[in-house]
């Protein structure tokens, strides 16, 4: 087993190197992130989006709506012992990010979000005017 892979919450040495190459002040945040896996389900009243964000607590989750884009961003904050040396890592970047474009019939002002056990559930309702309705046909 080698010790040259670092565990997720620390930046990997190569990522640090590229960040420093771009900005000598090295204040630039690590631009690498994991694209979380999602399920997107639409029903009559809106869209339900489920995203896997394991290791992200509620206070490290950020949801941003800007115009018609919705961005989900979260940072892994699983506590780890100080002296921990990584042996093997499948999750190498401690950050998740994914952006979605919302369509016009969705109402971003009424998004409901719930984070439980590392799964984010977003409920994006449709505008009232966009909900399907039955049109009565009057007898002539």
């Amino acid at each position: 087993m080698s010790n040259d892979k670092e565990l997720a919450p620390t930046r990997s040495s190569e990522a640090t190197a590229t960040a420093e190459a771009k900005s000598p002040a090295s204040s630039a945040p690590d631009s690498r992130f994991i694209v979380p896996r999602v399920d997107v389900i639409e029903d009559e009243n809106g869209i339900t989006l489920l995203a896997d964000l394991p290791g992200v607590p509620r206070d490290r989750l950020e949801l941003k709506v800007d115009g018609d884009t919705l961005q989900v961003e979260g940072t892994v904050a699983t506590p780890m012992p100080q002296q921990l040396q990584s042996v093997y890592a499948e999750v190498r970047v401690p950050r998740y990010r994914r952006t979605f474009t919302l369509s016009r019939e969705l109402d971003p002002s009424r998004i409901d979000a719930n984070l439980k056990d590392g799964v984010l559930t977003l409920r994006i309702p449709k505008q009232e005017s966009a909900k399907p309705r039955r049109i009565e046909v009057r007898a002539g």
Partner: protein
Amino acid sequence: MFDSLYNFPDEFERLRQEFDDLFGAVGMPTGIRSVARGAFPAINVGNTPQSLEIYAFAPGVDASKVEVTVDRGVLTLAGERPSALPEGGNRKVNVYSRERVGGTFRRAISLPDDADPSKVEATYSDGVLHISIARREAAQPKRIAVQ
């Protein structure tokens, strides 16, 4: 409307990531129980002088139903994750993305010889299953005073 949630840069990022996953680890020795990328749950392993720390990234799992066993030096994690997708037959529901895995899962990790199977602790929080296995006393680094 159908492609309203389709985001081009993101798909690109995913592709780049998959390439990294495929070619990033060339030349590195892999364990006999290594699995293809994307296996559920993803696992990180680290060690400290006193313990071996295993982090399984298993979101949306009922912690009481996860089975953690240590048998002859192999740690096995097994459990089930319910699928969030609706049952078939409901025509008013459309599913656009189904990337999250559901169903049963099982992963095995071989432990080093100095792992003590009688001292295993497992906790689950924020979708991460953390298993801490103590190392045997004899294997811990000791400072020897020179007379």
